[in-house]
Every structure is written in C-alpha cells, then in structure tokens.
C-alpha cells in the first residue's frame, strides 16, 4: 500500500466511477458517421482511456509520495487549513454556503431574478458571518440597486422573470417601472 490512504482510494474510485458512467453512456450514441471512419464515440472513449491511464499513474505516485506535491510544480494549491480548528458548526456553515447557490439557481425559473436576488444576497451575507441587521439590509439593498441599475436600467438585459405569482407580478412591476423610466428620457 505504501503511502496510499483511504482518501486516495476514494479519490481514485470517484474518477473511475466518472469514467465508467461516461463509458456506459457512450453506447447511447454509438453510431456510424458516413464521412468519418472513427464515429462519434472515438474521441470521448480515447479521453476515457487516457483518463484511466492517468488515474493509474496518480495512484502509483500517491503510493510512493502520499499527498506531497511533486517538486517544481507551478500553481499548486496550498492547504493552510490543516492546522485549523474544525468545529461542526463550521462544517455546517460551509455546507450551507455550498448548497445555497444551487437553491438560488433552482429558484430562478419559478421565482425570477428580481424577487430571488435580495433574499439570496442577504442569506450569503449572513452565512459569511455578518450579524448586524442594519448592515445586512443596507448592503443587500446596495447590491440590489447596483445590479438593477446596471443591468435593467442601463443595459436593458433580459433577466428571468419567474412563472409563479406573486413573484411574476413583482417582476412585471419592476419592468413596468423601468419602461416608464426609459420613456422619461
């Protein structure tokens, strides 16, 4: 086993699972192309083959060196969290921070950008540790104003309006206000 540990094996298994998933799915489009002898699967399967070779190389390296970076590499990631205290609350905090944007992205279709943005902005500020209500509200409104001012008023960029009432009605109200403002000039 050398310096291989459980996390190295899990990492390798995750990569192999990705490669296996893509390989299995490649049968869905395993069709011939009249003008191209190698077909639609040759390129992705070549990548998967190379990926398997590189995964093996990586495991071989980790068996000899563990997680130590290869000497002379440029742009390597630094792990300065090793000596940090890691209470459960911090893990919960970072876990919430990772998933909150996904919920925001999912909500964009039904709720729309105009209604979802201030809620998301305020939650991000809270998750990053700000607890003073005045600051949370003030900065949220400031960011909202900048974004609405730049993208809606100045650049007229089309943003998701939502499909569910009352969020859709709110977006319609915002756009009506913008129209009136544009007509004034």
């Amino acid at each position: 086993m050398g310096k291989l540990n459980t996390s190295h094996l899990i990492e390798a298994m995750a990569w192999v699972a990705i490669a296996a998933l893509f390989f299995i799915y490649s049968f869905e489009f395993n069709q011939k192309i009249e003008i191209y002898k190698f077909g639609a699967t040759a390129w992705p399967r070549s990548i998967l083959l190379m990926l398997m070779l590189v995964i093996a190389g990586n495991l071989f390296y980790q068996r000899a060196n563990g997680s130590t970076p290869q000497p002379g590499r440029v742009g390597i990631s630094e792990d300065d969290l090793d000596d940090a205290e890691k209470p459960l609350s911090s893990y919960l905090n970072i876990g919430s921070f990772l998933f909150l944007p996904l919920i925001f992205a999912w909500s964009l279709k039904p709720v729309g950008f105009y209604a979802a943005t201030p809620v998301f902005t305020a939650l991000v500020i809270i998750l990053l540790g700000e607890r003073r209500p005045r600051w949370i509200i003030g900065i949220t409104l400031f960011i909202y104003a900048i974004i609405i001012g730049l993208f809606m008023i100045v650049l007229n960029a089309p943003l998701p309006q939502g499909t569910v009432s009352p969020f859709y009605d709110f977006s319609a109200f915002m756009l009506r206000m913008n129209n009136q403002l544009q007509n004034m000039f």
């Binding site: 003008i35 990548i47 590499r73 990631s77 996904l102």
Partner: protein, 499 residues
C-alpha cells in the same frame, strides 16, 4: 500602410458618435474585465443586439476595442482576487495572486498594465503591416492537422503548469476535454451525453463553466477559510514597478509577443492558449523555475504580454479568412452578419475603410490601456478594502447574470454553481482549474480539427506527421508530456530510495 492608418484614424476621430463608441468600448471593456464575476463576454453578449443599429465600421470597431481592453481588464481580478476575468488571464493568477498575498499587488497590476499595452500595441502594428501576407501564409501552411497539433501542445503545457502533480494536471485537462464532449459531436452532429435534457444538446457553454470554476470556486475557498478562521484579507499596495524593474524582463516580453502573435494567427486558438504558452515558455527558459507560482513578476509579464499580443493577431484569421479565433471574435462574426456582410478576403476589397477604422481603433485602444489603465488601476486596487462578506454576494450575483445572459438559460446558472462546487473540491485536492478550463475551451476545437485532419490524410498517420509544422508541434508536446512524466517517476524513485 501609413496612409491607410491615417485615414482610419481620421475616420475614427472625425465623427463624434464614433469617438463616443470608441470611448465606451475602451472603458466598458476595462470595467467589465476588471469587475470580478463578469467579463468582456458578458458586455459583448448584452451589446450584440444594439450593434445592429450602428454603422458596420462602428459595430465591428466597438467589439474589437472591447476585446483589447477586456483582455487587459481580466488581469486585474486574476491578480487581486484569483478570479481571472477571462480564461486568457488564468496563467496571470498563478503569480499575480501570490504577489497580492505578499502585499505586492501594485507591482503585479502595474506590470500587467504596461505589458498588456506593449503586447497589444506590438500586435496591432504587426497586424496592420502583415495581415495579408500572414493570412496567405496561414492558408498555405496551416490546416486542421497543425491546429490539432497546437491544441495538443497547448494542453501538454497546461498540464505541466497546474496541479500538484503531472498526473493531476492531466486529470484536470482530461476532465475539461470530457466536459467538452457534452452536446453535439462536431463532425456528424450526433447528440452526446445530454442525459435526456434538451438544453444540453447545445453543449455546456464555456462562460458559465469558466465563471463557476474560477469565480464561484474561489468564493467557496475563501468562505471555507473564513469559516475555519483562516481568512487573511489581501494586502493593499499601490506601488507600481519602476521602469528598471521591468526592463529586466525585456526578453520575456519579446518572446511572449512572438508566442502570442503566433497563437493568435491560428484560427480557433486565440488568446487563451497564447497566455498558457507564453507562461509555459517563461518557465521553460527561466533560470529560477522554482520561483514561478510563488509570486514571480515574470509570470505576470509573460502571460499578459502574450494574451494581448494575440488580440491583434486574432483579427487576421477573422478578417482575412472569416474564421473566429475565440468567443469574442465569434461574436464579431455575428456583427458582420447583422449588416449583411461576411468577414473574409472580400472585406479588404469591398470595405477597406472598415478594416482600417478597426485597425486604428485597436491600436489606440491598446495605447489607452497604458494611460487609462494606470489611472483606473489605482481606483480598482481600492476594491481590496471591501470586506469579503460584502464583496462575495456581489461577485456571486454578477456571475449569475454573466452566465445567464449568454443563452438566456437558467440551466447555465445551475451549471455555473455546480462547476463552482466541483472546482472547490478539486482545488482542495490539488487539481488544476486552468487545466480544466483550457480542456473545455479546446476540446471541441481539438476534436473537430483532428477529425478534419484525419479525413484530409485519409487516416494515414505517416502523412499526418509528414507535415513539418504539425510534426514539430506534436514532438514539442510529446517532449513536454514526457518530461513531466519522467520527473514524476523520478520523484517516485527518490521517495523509494529514502525509504
């Protein structure tokens, strides 16, 4: 040439509306490049419908100017926040961000301003002097095999300069290439890996992927450090490098101009690969290789000179052959089409005044980077004063808009945040984010040119490799790859000996 340039200058500065559009392009490109979370592509996507109402020369000139100044602007966020404004600024972050952490942000940004201006201006001059002969040379000597060979070489360079090991560097690149296979295959148009989702048939757009891997993952990394009490605010410093400090890197600048210009000429390659190659060559020729990635000013200089040197060169395949060299030049093709024109050799004969207005505007845009950039930079550096918990939601919101605007799909916002999560986990494990991004960008180009090249040589590998430029690039890529693998195996042996 000088007469044409003067005529272009007169047309550019002789009309107040054209001047306004030029100034808007210069400032807009710099700002959108320098605001973390959005990029010049966001601005270009928003402005595209408006360009239909402009004169053809004004429309094309506006996007050419945004390309020049936006490429520079993206360096600022790469240096200050480790969030490259565009993929071509990714190598700038390798040394630029460590310099910010060391309190040398001013030096890095100052060098980026000057070198972007030098690279861009030199490229604009070369473009004006040699567009036609270079286009003729490119038609004769550069085909799909050469482009594929350059993509291979570029990916080999990218894998060798990112990630904790050569293996992780390659795994990152291969992941990017795999992501690029999602959507229709470039030869037969067969749907691949869309997992039953119609929106995925068009593939994964690279703007959301780039924003996710660079901007969102960086926010997550900093948020994690904050949660564990290890967050250190970047240090503010507005001391620019002196002329003597920069003079030491004159050879790196010249080398990067040549590398950047060569990459820019090649259709489909553009400034991103130029920046990686410029950086890679700087590392290769340096006597102090170990200092790269730890705050070596030469890293910033090489990358920024090369990517701006590619901007002028990228106009050559666009204007002379009608082939875009990157995302922004692809948008410029749409601007031509809005006005019932097709970029290509005929433009030089049918609309020479348009060509020279664009050339003159690019020249002046690069010169203005130096003056406006230095003033703007002093202001932009103040962004470092904003506390992270106020800056982060702003960046996330801007990135959401930036990823949505390109295609108007909520799926792209989802892709961006997923890419951010994956990028966060991969960065924590020592993988290379620039490698993934370069894989995504070059994947389709590589596959398309490989297939076309193979069809050209009737699937005969010997004929494929008998093309001299192709052979040189493949060999150079193989040497880069072989050296990296050899070093990794050598470190295995060293570890075994120590045990």
């Amino acid at each position: 040439m000088i007469e044409n340039f003067l005529a272009g200058t007169a047309a550019l500065f002789g009309d107040p509306i054209t001047i306004l559009i030029f100034v808007f392009g210069v400032i807009g490109g710099m700002l959108f490049g320098a605001i973390p979370g959005v990029s010049m592509l966001t601005l270009a996507a928003i402005l595209l419908p408006f360009s239909a109402g402009l004169e053809p020369a004004q429309g094309v000139m506006l996007f050419a100017v945004i390309y020049c100044t936006g490429t520079y602007g993206g360096a600022i966020t790469a240096i200050l926040f480790n969030i490259p404004g565009a993929p071509e600024n990714a190598p700038t972050a390798f040394d630029g961000y460590p310099m910010t952490k060391q309190g040398r942000a001013g030096k890095a940004v100052g060098a980026a301003v000057l070198c972007s201006a030098i690279g861009g201006t030199a490229s604009a001059l070369l473009m004006m002097a040699a567009t036609e002969p270079l286009a003729k040379w490119a038609i004769r000597n550069i085909g799909p095999p050469e482009i594929f060979a350059l993509v291979f070489f570029g990916l080999a360079v990218a894998s060798s300069v990112g990630g904790n090991t050569i293996w992780k560097g390659w795994m990152s690149v291969l992941l990017g290439l795999l992501v690029a296979t999602v959507g229709q295959d470039p030869v037969g148009g067969i749907n691949r890996y869309n997992f039953g989702m119609t929106d995925l048939a068009a593939g994964i757009a690279f703007v959301p992927a780039i924003l996710g891997f660079f901007a969102v993952s960086e926010i997550f990394i900093q948020a994690e450090k904050r949660a564990f009490g290890k967050y250190n605010a970047p240090k503010l410093d507005v001391n620019f490098p002196t002329f003597l400090e920069l003079w030491r890197y004159k050879i790196a600048v010249v080398r990067s101009i040549l590398v950047g210009f060569f990459c820019g000429i090649l259709p489909g390659i553009g400034a991103t690969l130029a920046a990686f190659m410029g950086y890679g060559e700087a590392v290769r020729w340096s006597k102090d290789k170990e200092s790269f990635g730890k705050g070596n000013l030469e890293g910033v200089i090489s990358s920024e000179t090369a990517n701006n040197a590619a901007t002028g060169a990228a106009m050559i395949p666009l204007l002379a052959l009608g082939l875009p060299g990157g995302a922004l030049t692809a948008i410029m093709v749409a601007v031509f089409q809005f006005h019932d024109m097709e970029p290509g050799p005929l433009v030089f004969y049918n609309s020479p005044e348009l060509i020279w207005v664009v050339f003159a505007a690019m020249f002046y845009a690069n010169v203005s980077i130096l003056f406006i950039g230095l003033i703007e930079t002093k202001t932009i550096l103040q962004l470092l004063r904003i506390p992270f918990h106020f800056l982060a939601p702003m960046i996330l919101m801007l990135a959401s808009i930036g990823s949505y605007i390109g295609r108007g799909l909520v799926l792209d916002v989802m892709v961006m945040f997923l890419a951010g999560m994956i990028g966060f986990l991969l960065r924590r494990s020592g993988y290379s984010i620039p490698g993934i991004v370069l894989g995504i960008i070059l994947g389709k180009i590589g596959e398309q040119n490989f297939a076309q090249g193979m069809q050209m040589v009737h699937y005969d590998l010997i004929t494929y490799l008998s093309r001299p430029i192709c052979l040189i690039l493949i060999v150079a890529g193989a040497i880069t790859l072989g050296t990296g693998v050899y070093k990794a195996l050598a470190s295995n042996r060293t570890s075994a000996d120590q045990q």
